[in-house]
């Protein structure tokens, strides 16, 4: 199918000369992108690239079934262009972002407002979609929430208990990550990539390192690729386990909540066993890894991993055995499969709608080219399904780690890589625990970053949470929210 596409094709974690990326007038880019999306492609990134006082639009697409990525761009322009969102809703936030960052107006966009309000007031001060009527009331929550959690603003339109519409206004966490990357990599860049979303350190760091490696025409040594894959699964285990505990807590099922809170820490400590930091800071570096998992350490890790996995299994068994929990999860916060595909959901949230969508499987790079785990899918799209997928992924990540730790790759852990090639375009996708982490880079004539785009899975998925709330009781917001557990800073950048 993709063989006939006019876009330039390439594989995940590779690069191509910018000159090979086809350029069309913007209306044609929108039309061609729309056509590919209509026949099953996914929009990984859609962003602006300033050229003098004009801007090019760049589209990065994924053909999951063909294990192929595709890229195309517009010729530079200013002003207005026909919105892609009209026929392809998965572009809606991207087009708002481009409008906010570069002033290009997607004509016909149904809800054009800033996504981060980088230049203006607090995000909660913007305009919100309102439902009118005598029975309608509005609930505003945030930016400062009740728990220990990042800031964001939620605006509910309710009829009694029932939520008719939820609008999520983010931007409070904006730290200027992408702006700072221009002209990079700088000496702070690696630490910033590790903290784009601090609970997704390994995935974002791996994506960034992969970008630099592919821009250099190199690959990290196999042992480093192996170790990155191990750390990625540990990250998944820690976060999924923590979220299962949080879900249990929100339906007042305390045994699992108490147990998972602790076990999550046990998994974090395994990452710390490898690199000293519980979140994996300092492990992944361009060209390889900085700390090795020597045999003795690996044995210790495996032993502790087994204990933690057994504990998790036990804690989750209590949860799934309890009818009182299952009924609280079932048919709550439903995202329908058609909606999920339409808005471009990724990660466990997409897989819980029955979509078989996993970068490790669809676009394998690094160690995942040699060793894969089966994709965990569940139909239903409700809190129950999202929790099931998380549970399944805990099992499979555990099994994968067990197998792969027993069969390590030998050799070097790090190799020096050349500086990035000039005028080159690279994309790296990594399946983080929330879903597809996408890094896109374009270098200038000197081999420095001309544009660096980061798409955290949360960018795709916040809309999923908003949809899940429709027709749901507002008192179920906490479990819906926990079942997604999206990143604020990963979105806000």
């Amino acid at each position: 199918m993709s063989a006939s596409t006019p876009f330039a094709l390439f594989a995940n974690a590779t690069s191509l000369p910018w000159a090979e990326v086809p350029a069309w007038p913007v209306a044609e880019l929108v039309h061609k992108t729309g056509r590919e999306l209509n026949r099953g492609a996914r929009l990984c990134a859609w962003f602006g690239l300033p050229e003098g006082d004009r801007t090019c639009l760049v589209a990065v697409l994924a053909f999951d079934a063909d294990n192929t990525l595709a890229v195309g761009r517009s010729t530079p322009f200013i002003g207005t262009y026909p919105a892609l969102t009209l026929l392809n809703p998965q572009a809606h936030l991207f087009e708002r972002e481009v409008w906010e960052q570069h002033g290009l107006t997607p004509a016909g966009h149904p809800w054009l407002k800033p996504v981060r309000r980088t230049a203006g007031d607090a995000p909660a001060n913007g305009e919100f979609f309102r439902v009118d009527g005598r029975e309608i009331h509005e609930v505003a929550v945030g930016p400062v929430h009740a728990g220990i959690i990042e800031p964001g603003h939620f605006r509910f339109q309710c009829a009694g208990e029932e939520v008719l519409h939820l609008e999520i206004a983010l931007g409070y966490q904006h730290r200027g990550v992408e702006t700072a990357l221009a002209g990079g990599p700088h000496r702070a860049t690696m630490s910033q990539m590790e903290t784009v979303a601090g609970d997704t350190t390994i995935a974002h760091a791996t994506a960034h390192a992969t970008i630099l490696e592919s821009l250099a025409g190199a690959e990290a040594p196999l042992r480093a690729q192996w170790l990155r894959a191990m750390a990625l699964e540990l990250e998944r285990l820690a976060n999924h386990t923590g979220d299962m505990g949080a879900l249990a807590n929100d339906v007042a099922f305390l045994p699992t909540s108490a147990a998972c809170g602790k076990i999550r820490g046990d998994f974090l400590n395994l990452t710390a066993l490898i690199c000293g930091n519980r979140f994996g800071r300092g492990l992944v570096r361009p060209g390889g890894c900085r700390h090795d998992l020597e045999p003795a350490r690996a044995t210790q890790l495996l032993g502790r991993l087994k204990t933690a996995l057994a504990d998790t299994e036990q804690a989750l068994a209590w949860l799934w055995d309890a009818a009182s929990v299952r009924t609280r999860f079932e048919n709550v916060g439903v995202v329908f499969p058609a909606q999920a595909a339409e808005i471009g959901l990724v990660g466990p949230a997409a897989r819980a709608c029955g979509l078989v969508r996993d970068v490790r499987y669809d676009h394998p790079a690094g160690w995942h080219r040699f060793a894969q785990a089966p994709v965990a899918v569940w139909p239903g799209g409700d809190v129950f399904a999202r929790a099931r997928v998380r549970s399944l992924e805990i099992q499979r990540a555990g099994q994968y780690l067990g197998e792969q730790l027993a069969a390590p790759a030998d050799g070097e852990l790090h190799s020096e890589i050349a500086p990035p090639a000039p005028d080159t375009f690279a994309v790296a996708l990594v399946e983080g625990w929330r879903g597809e982490v996408c890094h896109v880079a374009l270098t200038d004539t000197a081999g420095r970053f001309r544009r660096y785009k980061i798409v955290d899975p949360s960018f795709h998925n916040w809309t999923g949470l908003a949809l899940a709330l429709r027709g749901t009781a507002i008192s179920d917001f906490p479990i819906c929210n926990k079942s997604f557990n999206l990143s604020y800073c990963g979105f806000d950048l």
Partner: protein, 265 residues
């Protein structure tokens, strides 16, 4: 019957809360390294090897001066430790890092080779908060790691509530704030309002390199380079993120609830 299973399993596991602070502190991961120490007398003349490798520009060495390391900016990546040819910067393995004054995190001068650990609150506040401290946490640009390692103190392993310390939902119920993140421009107003809503007397605790000095994002125009630029800070806890043990030590230290004993090496 699952209730019965659950109960027996819980009973079998017994108490999972750590013995610390009555017993010994849990060991840090061996590669963690703990806090840093600077012995500037070891530095070779004119050597600046560590300066350019620091991602957060925490290390400076002006011409003719000794090397200076700001632990408030430090994210403990240990790149300087690796690169130093004369072992002037070393890891101590000590988890204790909380200080009361920002300048107590500046290392390098003679007599200031190590950080100067914080003292307890003055007597009146200590009487008020020593056995019951309610904190409102505000994430102001934090990456969710400082938040996570603060949150973990509430789990059964750490059980923060045994010290009478609790995180509460409303600033009006709080005795102080625990702030993470560099304080983004977007959160400045919200943080000020939250602080205003806390009744006096109140305290502020800055957790993590971001909240102390901007962390990895220091100097970005979108951030404020730390909580102290917006509210007065009473306790600084360095790290990126600080280990939960470091945070707990800081809280107990502030409340005067630690009887100091030699550090485990």
């Amino acid at each position: 019957m699952f209730v019965f299973d659950t109960l027996t399993h819980r009973l079998k596991r017994g108490c999972e809360t750590m013995a610390y602070p009555k017993g010994p502190a849990p060991a840090l991961p061996d590669r963690h390294g703990g806090t840093l120490k600077v012995d500037a007398s070891q530095c070779a003349d004119g050597c600046k090897a560590c300066v350019p490798v620091c991602p957060t520009q925490a290390i400076t060495r002006a011409n003719g001066e000794t090397v200076a390391l700001d632990l408030g900016r430090c994210i403990f990546c240990a790149a300087c430790v690796e690169v130093c040819p004369s072992k002037a910067i070393t890891q101590t393995g000590d988890h204790r890092m909380a200080v009361r004054r920002r300048e107590d995190l500046l290392l390098g001068r003679t007599g200031a080779e190590e950080l100067r650990l914080g003292t307890a609150l003055e007597e009146k506040l200590r009487q008020l908060f020593g056995r019951s401290l309610r904190l409102r946490q505000v994430s102001a640009g934090g990456c969710n790691a400082c938040e996570a390692d603060t949150n973990v103190l509430g789990t059964i392993g750490w059980d923060l509530s045994r010290f009478g310390i609790q995180f509460v939902a409303s600033p009006r119920h709080a005795d102080g704030l625990l702030i993470t993140g560099p304080v983004t421009k977007g959160m400045e107003l919200a943080l000020k309002k939250t602080w205003d809503a806390v009744p006096t007397p109140k305290i502020v605790i800055a957790v993590g390199a971001c909240a102390i000095a901007g962390g990895p994002f220091v100097g970005h125009r979108e951030v404020n380079d730390g909580a102290a630029s917006v509210v007065p800070v009473d306790l600084y806890i360095p790290g990126c993120p600080p280990h939960p043990l470091t945070i707990l030590d800081g809280l107990l230290r502030l409340l005067g609830r630690l009887d100091e004993r030699p550090v485990p090496v």
